[in-house]
């Protein structure tokens, strides 16, 4: 099962390696990991996408909680939540391809954020599946470069993760 785990962690040197080290040492999967400081600069918020049986994910959340730098852990996928990922994708867009690429970007509500003589760079946000779908919708030979942030998540409604 895929799980989305959100972590509040002290914004200290080495905190990230404590968390990634825990995953590698205990053989847990990381599909993606995103991290950045919160509105309180002393703390970072991390989203980890992992897969595992219920037992494994229970151990993952407990082991994360045990790390001294970790302030709070919640498994977002246990309840209603929203997840988003940002992708920047650079595609070949010569005279021939331009219209088609722009049309496709519009359908997926992407934005063209950089233009050169023969390339478009498109910004697209959404679930991981939506980003995958966009990639598949394009002619693969036109894709020059992609970069994805990994999934960030937040609980719906009154589900709030803070100290």
């Amino acid at each position: 099962m895929r799980h989305l785990i959100s972590i509040l962690v002290e914004n200290e040197a080495g905190a990230l390696s404590r968390i990634s080290g825990l995953f590698s040492a205990r053989g847990y999967n990381i599909e993606s990991l995103t991290v950045a400081p919160t509105e309180d600069a002393s703390m970072s918020r991390m989203t980890i996408v992992t897969t595992g049986s219920d037992d494994v994910v229970e151990q993952i959340t407990k082991q994360l909680n045990k790390l001294v730098d970790v302030v709070k852990v919640v498994d977002l996928s246990e309840a209603e939540h929203i997840e988003r990922e940002l992708m920047l994708i650079k595609v070949r867009a010569g005279v021939k391809e331009r219209d088609e690429v722009k049309r496709m970007a519009d359908i997926f509500r992407g934005r063209v954020i950089d233009v050169s003589d023969n390339t478009y760079t498109i910004e697209l946000t959404g679930s991981g599946e939506k980003l995958d779908a966009f990639i598949h919708a394009l002619d693969s030979s036109t894709i020059l470069e992609t970069v994805r942030t990994g999934t960030s998540g937040i609980g719906r409604g009154n589900r709030i993760l803070r100290v």
Binding site: S17, A25, D55, K62, N65, V163
Partner: protein, 573 residues
């Protein structure tokens, strides 16, 4: 609040003052470039005693033994680079057994970090997986509070080693010193009290048990809960086992004690662990050497109550029915309150269970050939127990001798049995015995070891001489890495690949070379007299080299990966 008088100190002086404030009376260490200012500060005071080891691994093990035998924090101090890497084995040993330790390491100056400086290593990175937490202090103003945090983290919750890495320039810089009285960390708040509802549910299950078993581990010792455990087990009248890490938390000479569980546990204990209907696990973690194959263990239906301070220990290898997260002593206090006031189990309800246990006990699974003409290692341990009146501190290395010591020395008190259970570190015995002796001056301390293990930290014989540590070394010399040989005999077709210890030193001369005394004992009749003579010499370290049966194996044995009732028993059963 009154204005507290502060003073300006160097980082090095702050380190030493923090140790004094924490009541540390003894530090194990080895100097080097990055810690020279700290050593200078140590030189200028006389409250904290420094014990100079001969190798940093010895410093970590000695601090560890000091802590295990005294419930105080063990402290060690080493320099950067190789000082740290040498100490890592000792730190990992303490981590696996949850021993509270503070490790202070020197680091190259902050401006040199990351430039591959002389004796630089990424200490925080190297030790991260084998410490409870670690810190790199880059500013002298953070030093005192960081050391305070280190002691707080090491001793609270599930204890463990905490490392503080201090660059050399930070030990030179000065700041106002004020040692904080308390420390609070928003990201760290271990639970002490168990959940009242869970305790109530557990109590009900405990009282209804027909085939109960109390299974306890190192957590009972770490939590100083041996008196509570003993009262709990006696009030209930239930059988009890202590794991290798828990030996001594319930008196081993008591009728309700069935012996150690697990790979080399007694037949009766493993059978009872498997066939009980209610298993009360206290400060134990169902590890592979205790319950063997978890799938086999789960074949027999039973209800499991698990009391542990660490939530990650619960339902890690075995699903439990009633988890209670909390300090073992606190939870046992609550259970005892209810038991003292309320109903007790009816002894008649467990009579049939005790009868079954009696039949298992009748197997006499620790039997060995007492008429042997060659010294049997078990015989040495039995005599050691007799000669020391069962009241010595026993440290051990790792291997067959460790298992025989655990089986044959009956520990009635906690903190008397000092061994590396989790990591299984050969070389632990002698340096940890130094820590034990320094924490317990005047006490009888013996190190049970083998000719292979003892050679891994042999250099500490020199430390023992310098500090006049009268440890008795019980060397069970079978000229083999005995446990490796045993596995090769059982599982690798008698191919004794590299397990024979050739070119052994003359241990008697070796001990004499270090300024100690040695004895060679090669006849069963000489075992007891030699032990008596050695223990009479209260002020001397004596190296007793017992030439023992090379073919002897540790029984019972559960092969790796098997269920705990799938035991190999000694051939003559």
């Amino acid at each position: 609040m009154d204005r507290v008088k502060t003073e300006t100190l160097t980082g090095a002086e702050i380190v030493v003052r923090c140790l004094q404030e924490e009541g540390v009376d003894c530090v194990f260490g080895y100097p080097g470039g990055a810690v020279l200012y700290i050593y200078d500060a140590l030189f200028k005071q006389d409250k904290v005693r420094h014990v100079l080891v001969r190798h940093e691994q010895g410093a970590a093990h000695a601090a560890d033994g000091y802590s295990r035998s005294s419930n105080k924090v063990g402290v060690c101090l080493v320099t950067s680079g190789p000082g740290v890497t040498n100490a890592v084995t000792g730190i990992a040993t303490a981590y696996m057994d949850s021993i509270p330790m503070v490790v202070i390491t020197g680091q190259v100056p902050t401006h040199a970090i990351g430039l591959d400086a002389f004796q630089e290593c990424d200490t925080v990175g190297i030790t991260r997986p084998c410490v409870k937490h670690n810190f790199l202090v880059k500013n002298v103003n953070d030093l005192a509070v960081t050391i305070k945090k280190a002691f707080y983290l090491a001793t609270t919750g599930r204890p463990g080693p905490v490392l503080v890495d201090i660059p050399k320039d930070v030990t030179q810089h000065t700041c106002e010193f004020q040692y904080p009285d308390t420390v609070s960390m928003r990201s760290y708040s271990p639970v002490r009290k168990g959940h009242a509802g869970q305790i109530k549910k557990a109590l009900q299950l405990i009282l209804e048990a027909k085939r109960p078993m109390v299974y306890t581990g190192g957590g009972v010792i770490l939590s100083n809960a041996a008196p509570q455990l003993t009262e709990f087990v006696r009030l209930l009248g239930y059988p009890c086992t202590n794991t290798l890490m828990g030996l001594g938390s319930y008196p081993a000479t008591d009728r309700q004690f069935l012996g150690m569980p697990g790979m080399h546990g007694t037949y009766e204990t493993n059978m009872a662990m498997q066939h009980c209907d209610v298993l009360i696990a206290i400060g134990a973690r169902f590890d592979d050497r205790v319950i063997g194959d978890p799938a086999h263990f789960a074949q027999n239906p039973r209800k499991i109550i698990h009391i542990d301070i660490d939530p990650t220990s619960i339902s890690k290898r075995v699903k439990v029915d009633i988890p209670i997260v909390g300090d073992v002593a606190d939870v046992l206090d609550e259970l005892l309150k209810a038991l003292r006031a309320g109903p007790r189990p009816d002894p008649a309800a467990t009579r049939a269970w005790w009868d079954t246990i009696a039949t298992w006990r009748a197997k006499d699974c620790l039997r060995y050939d007492r008429a042997s003409k060659i010294i049997k290692p078990q015989f040495v341990l039995e005599k050691l127990y007799e000669v020391t009146g069962g009241d010595a501190f026993i440290t051990s290395d790792v291997g067959q001798h460790q298992m025989w010591a655990a089986q044959f020395y009956k520990f009635d008190k906690p903190r008397r049995w000092i061994n590396s259970g989790g990591l299984g570190t050969m070389g632990f015995g002698l340096p940890s015995a130094m820590g034990v002796q320094l924490a317990n001056p005047g006490a009888t301390v013996a190190c049970v070891t083998g000719e292979s293990s003892i050679q891994m930290c042999l250099q500490e014989l020199s430390t023992c001489k310098q500090y006049r540590l009268p440890i008795k070394i019980i060397n069970l010399n079978n000229k083999y890495m005995g446990m490796v040989r045993q596995w090769q005999q059982f599982f690798h077709g008698n191919r004794y690949s590299e397990s024979y210890m050739d070119a052994l030193p003359d241990f008697v001369k070796l001990a004499e070379g270090y300024g100690h005394s040695g004895m060679l004992i090669d006849k069963p009749a000489d075992v007891e007299p030699a032990l008596r003579e050695a223990f009479m010499r209260k002020n001397d370290l004596i190296f007793l080299d017992f030439i023992t049966d090379q073919a002897e194996n540790v029984y019972p044995m559960v092969p790796g990966g098997k269920g705990i009732t799938e035991m190999i028993l000694s051939e003559d059963l």
